[in-house]
Amino acid sequence: MELFLSQILNGLAIGQVYALIALGFSLVFGVANIINFAQGALFMLGAFIAYSAIAWFGLPLVPAAAVSVVIVAILGLLLERIALRPLIGAPYVAPFLSTLAISTIIDQSAEIVWSPESQPFPASISSTTFFIGNAYITVTDLVIFGFGAAATVALTLFVSFTWTGRALRATAQDASAAAQLGIRTDVMRQIAFGLAGALGALSGILVALYFQSVFPQMGIPFGLKGFAAALLGGLASIPGAVVGGLLLGIGETLASAYVGDSYRDAIAFTLLLLMLLVRPNGLLGGGRLDALGGAGAAAGAMPTTSLLASSSSQQSALRAYYLPPWGFLAVGAAFALVPLVVSSTYVLQALIYGFIFALLSASTSLVSGSVGILSIGQAAFFGVGAYAVGVFARPYGLPADATLAIAIGLTALVAVVAAIPLLKLTGHTAALGTLAIGQIGFLVFLNWVSVTRGPMGILNIPHPVLELLGGLRFATTEQKYWLVLGFAAVALVIAERYVSSPIGRVWRAIREDRLAALAAGLPVRRYILLAFAVSGALAGLAGGLFAYVQQVVSPESFTVETSILVLTMAVLGGLGNLTGAALAGFALAILPEFLRGFAEWRMIVYGLLLLVALRVRPQGLLGAR
C-alpha cells in the first residue's frame, strides 16, 4: 500500500511534466490545426540547451533553464516560419510531414553536437525524501510537480484573462471569425508555436531533472507520451491535457513498479492505442477529432479526411506516372542482368538494399497514400518480418520458402491487429497512432529477450535455401541479389495489381472521403484492414529478405528513424504511387552507400530533401495517386 501511494505521488510529478508537453500539442493544434511532430524535438533541445548552459558555461540551474526556455521559444517561432508558413494552402499532409522533417533534422543535429550517448544531467535538486504517512516523495518530485503546476496555472491565467490569450482562443475556435474582428491570426499561430517551444523546453528540463539524464533520442518517446496525454484529454483543451498527463504519469509509474521498468514506455504507448480504440475523442473531448478541425472546419480548414487534398481550391489534378503491374517484372528482368556485367560485391550489395527499401517504401506508400493513413511505424512491420526469419531459420532449420512465408503471414497478421485501433482515426492523429505502433514494436524487439535476444540480436542467420527450387542455396552476393530481386519484383507486381484494381479504387475513395465511403455502404473497416494486411505482407517480406542479407537481426535496424526514412521515400515518390515509392526507396537507399563518410549526416540530408520536396513538389516525384 505504501509503495502504491508513493508510486501515485511519483506518477503525479512525471504526469505533470507530460501535461506540459501535452499543452504544447494542444495549443498548436487548437490555433493552427496542426499536430506538431517537432514538439518532441523542442522538448529534447530544451533539456540539452539547459545541459550545455550548466556543463559548458557553468550557469546555475535556474538561469540555465531560463536561457533554454527563451531559446527554444524562439526556435518554436522559427519552426512556424520556416516549416509551416510556406505551406499554407498546400496539401494537408504537408505541414505534418514538414514538422516531421524538421524533427528529424533537429534530432540528428543533436546527435552530432552532443553525441548520441545518454549523458548525466549536471544539476539536481536535493534528493531528500518526505514521508506523508507511510508514503514517500522526494523533494525533486515536489519541485517538478510544483513547477509544472505553476506553469499550467500561469498558462491558464494567460489564455483566460489577457487580450492575447483571448485572441488565441478565438483563433482556435474560429480563425476566420477572429480575423474579422481584427485579430492577426498569423501572429496568433506564431505565439502558439512560441509558447509550445517554451512549454517544451520547460518540460524537457524537468524530465532531465527527474530521470537525471539527457539523450538526443528522448524527443520522440516523450513527445509521443505528451501527445498521448493530450489525446486522453481531448487534444484541444487545457484541463484535458492536464488530466491526461496526470493519468498517463500515474499509469506508467504503477506499470513500471509492478510489471517492470523496461516496460514503462511500452505500457504508455499501449495505453495510447487502447485509448484510441475505446475513446478516440479523449476522456473530456468532444467531437473535435472527427473533423480534425473543430470549429475551424466550419471555415473550411479541413473538410475531408484526404491528406492529399488541400484547402486552397487552386490545386489542379496533377498527373501521376506509374508502371503497369508487369512493368515491375520488366524492370526486374533488366536488373537481373547487372551481375553479369558488374562484379563488385559492394555495388551489388548496395543494389540489394535498394530493392529491399523499394519494397518497404512501396508498403508504406500503400497505407499512407492509397488509404491515407500516414504510417510512421512501418519499421515495426519490417522488424517482425526480419525477426520471423531470424527466429525460425536456424533453430528450426526451416528453408527460406517456409521462413519467408512465415515472415509474410505473421507480419500481415500483426499489421492487421495493429491497425484495429487506427480504424476510427484520420489525418494526423492516425499518423501518431502508427508512430506508437512503431515504438511498441521496437520496444518489444529490444525487451522480449527470450525470443529476440534483446539488444544483442540474432546472429549467424544461415544462407537461404529454397526447397521449392530443389534445395537451391543462395550463398554468394550474386545469388542473393537474384533472390531479393526476384521476390521484390513479384511482390511489387502483386501490390500494384491491388492498387490498380477496384480494391485500390475503394482505398482511394476511403482516403478522399471516408464519410462518403461509409454512406455509400462500403465496408470501410474491412478495406482498411486489407490494406494493412497487404502492406504488412510487403514489409514482412522486405524484413525477411533483409535478415537473410544481413545475416544478423538486431533492434537498431527498426527504430523510428527507419520508419521516418521509408515514409520520406514514399512521400518523395508520390504517395499512393507504388512506382514512385519503389523508385524513391531504391534511390534513397543506394545513395548513402555511395556517399560514405557522411553517415551521421544521412538523416539530415533526408530531412532536408523532404522539406524541399514539400515546398517544391508536394505531390512527389512521379505524382501522388
Binding site: Q180, L181, A298, Q314
Partner: protein
C-alpha cells in the same frame, strides 16, 4: 447618392476560387452614412463581394478603395483597423467562450481603451437584456436568434463607422428578423455606414438607401431601394410578387 466622398468603392473586381470564378467585374459604391444592400440568390456571389471588401479573399482583377485609399491585398486586420466591423455569415460566435468574452473580443481593435469598453458593455447589456442574463453562458449553447444578437452586439463594440453584414436574417424566425432590423435601423440612425448582404430582399430594401442585385457573379440591376422595390422584375424574382 451620397454627396460626400464614398466610403467604399469596388471597381470591376473578378474573384476566383481556384478554377471557379465567383465574381465578374463587380462594381459598387457605398457612400458615407449610407446603407447599401447587395441582393441575390444562392451562389450569386454576395458573400464573395463582402469578403473581398474585408480582405478575406483577393480579387484577381479590379480595385477596392476604402475612404479613398486602395485596400487590395491588405489583410483583414488592416481593414478592420480602419473603423470597419463585420457581422459574418452564419453569425460565427466563438462557441466555447462566454457571451461576455465574445462581446469583449468585438472590442479587440480598441483593447487599450479599458474604461470606454466597460461603459459600452453596459450599454449593450441595457440594449440587449437577454445578453446580460446570459453573459456567462457559452455562446455555442445559445439559440440562433440569440447568437445573431450577440454577433451584432459584438460588432457594435468595435465602435465602427462602417459595418459589413452578411445575411443577418438567415435561419431566423420572423420575430427575430424584426429584432435584427430594428437594431440595424438604430445603427443607421446613429450614422453608421452599412454594407448589407441579404437574400431577404423585402427587409433589406426597407432599410437600405440603395441596392445592387447580383446574378451569377455580375451586377444585374442597381438603383435606389424604392426604385428596386417597385421594379417588376425584382419584385417577381426577389419579393415573391406574382
Amino acid at each position: 447618392m451620397a454627396e460626400t466622398d464614398p466610403r467604399i468603392v469596388v471597381d470591376g473586381i473578378d474573384v476566383h476560387y481556384g478554377a471557379v470564378q465567383a465574381l465578374f467585374g463587380v462594381s459598387l459604391t457605398v457612400g458615407a452614412r449610407e446603407v447599401v444592400a447587395v441582393l441575390g440568390g444562392n451562389a450569386s456571389g454576395k458573400s464573395t463581394t463582402i469578403k473581398s471588401v474585408l480582405g478575406l479573399v483577393r480579387p484577381s482583377r479590379g480595385t477596392i478603395t476604402l475612404d479613398g485609399a486602395p485596400v487590395n491585398g491588405q489583410r483583414p486586420d488592416a481593414i478592420i483597423a480602419r473603423g470597419v466591423a463585420s457581422v459574418p455569415e452564419g453569425r460565427r460566435v466563438f462557441p466555447e467562450m462566454s457571451v461576455y468574452e465574445n462581446l469583449l473580443l468585438g472590442a479587440y481593435p480598441r483593447r487599450h481603451e479599458a474604461r470606454e469598453i466597460a461603459g459600452d458593455l453596459e450599454r449593450v447589456y441595457e440594449a440587449f437584456p437577454r445578453l446580460k442574463e446570459r453573459r456567462s453562458q457559452l455562446a455555442g449553447t445559445m439559440s440562433g436568434g440569440e447568437q445573431q444578437m450577440l454577433a451584432l452586439a459584438r460588432a457594435w463594440l468595435r465602435r465602427p463607422t462602417l459595418v459589413c453584414i452578411d445575411e443577418p436574417s438567415m435561419g431566423l424566425s420572423p420575430r427575430f428578423v424584426d429584432q435584427v432590423y430594428e437594431v440595424l435601423q438604430g445603427w443607421k440612425a446613429q450614422g453608421i455606414t452599412i454594407l448589407l448582404v441579404e437574400q431577404n430582399a423585402r427587409m433589406a430594401l426597407e432599410l437600405a438607401d440603395r441596392a445592387y442585385v447580383l446574378q451569377h457573379g455580375r451586377v444585374a440591376v442597381s438603383g435606389t431601394a424604392s426604385d428596386l422595390a417597385s421594379d417588376p422584375q425584382v419584385r417577381k424574382a426577389y419579393l415573391g410578387a406574382a
